[in-house]
Symmetry: C2
DNA sequence: TGTTTTTTGGACCCTTGGGTCTAGTTTTCG
DNA sequence: CGAAAACTAGACCCAAGGGTCCAAAAAACA
């Protein structure tokens, strides 16, 4: 967000953010402003015209991109069979996890967790926490409708989320996995939903 | 590990590692050798006598402390009821996750995943991967003995591991949670084991 | 067209931090 | 005790990088 409303080139502002996200993904917080400028095809001074400092640049990034983390929020309506709804939720989660840009950002938040705990907390609450909450609400609804028998929806939601995210999350963060194919995602999602239904079915 | 076998003070070597782990936990890879020296009550030169460089110091740390991550490896024998064995496995995992030193180290590995992928991979394989493998072997055994009906032990192990580690892992990494109490750990472990048995019981 | 603002590129300042060097002190061991 | 090795404190070198400054080019605007 340009600080002055003058003749500042808005497109350059976006280019800077794009470049920044790229460089930060690769180099972490140690990314240099010089390299960001180079990749945005912009002079270093221009970055400082748009965002006052490195910290503010990162803050702008976070503001714009929390959506990436918040993606797996949608919880399919109750019009489908619960197993299919759960599987579809799982697919959304997995795709979000495997997205390299999102996990690069997550690595960034973890890296900054000590110095900027508020950012880390905000990301956590907008992302995983909100997502689990929606899932829990869904489980409550299904239980009330007699299609499931979940006694502790919050815990059940954590369990399901954990089954799906599981090891993939950690291996993504450690840069060990080379991602999942779409058929693998389908298979994991279907299997998780099936087992969950068996554990919590009426 | 001291590079020369001379009259080097071994105790100082340990003190350096202890200080290093502390400072690295707090400051991440940006920790300064100066501060490590200060906290170890040792001169900077002494650190360089023991470990030749910052990278080697960190490597020594990793060598010594992989055990922290590798802790949740023990898989109770088949003499117990599977539900109790699973619950006890889950308790071990959760205690390891909540250990602040271990999660600080994990944050370090994630931070270094880009520059030192081999370290990250080694940690992953010695830790979560080995742990899941043992769990999978246990599930196979129990299935062969007719006490469980697990068709895909590897996937089932991931599911159980995920249920247990679940959100706690991520919130630990993001520094959001203030840890779990022992009763909470017991409850989660018991519940996870119970639900898993229901999902995979004969 | 002329004025104002932005952009550019590159020099520049300054702090941080890895790593070395030195001179003097302490420890270890024969 | 005396020599060899380790340790200490602190000065020091050097590179990287955040941030500023400046003169010239390029847009934007009236």
């Amino acid at each position: 967000m340009p600080r002055v409303a003058g003749q500042i080139d808005l497109a350059k502002g976006e280019a800077i953010l794009d470049a920044a996200i790229g460089v930060l993904s690769e180099r972490g917080l140690a990314a240099s402003m010089e390299e960001i400028a180079r990749r945005a095809r912009v002079s270093k001074q221009t970055i400082y015209n748009h965002y006052g400092s490195k910290a503010e640049l990162i803050a702008a990034l976070v503001d714009r991109r929390v959506a990436d983390i918040t993606a797996p929020l949608e919880m399919p309506g109750a019009d489908e069979h619960p197993e299919e709804a759960l599987a579809s939720f799982a697919r959304i989660m997995l795709r979000a996890l495997v997205n390299p840009r999102a996990s690069a950002l997550m690595r960034l938040y973890i890296q900054g967790a000590t110095e900027a705990p508020d950012v880390a907390r905000a990301v956590f609450e907008a992302g995983p926490k909100a997502s689990r909450a929606r899932l829990a609400a869904f489980l409550s609804r299904e239980t009330a409708a007699g299609r499931l028998a979940v006694d502790d929806p919050a815990q059940a939601a954590e369990f399901f989320g954990g089954m799906v995210a599981g090891t993939y999350q950690l291996s993504e963060l450690l840069g060990v996995d080379r991602g999942l194919t779409e058929p693998q995602i389908d298979h994991i999602a279907a299997e998780a939903a099936r087992r969950f239904l068996r554990a919590y079915g009426g």
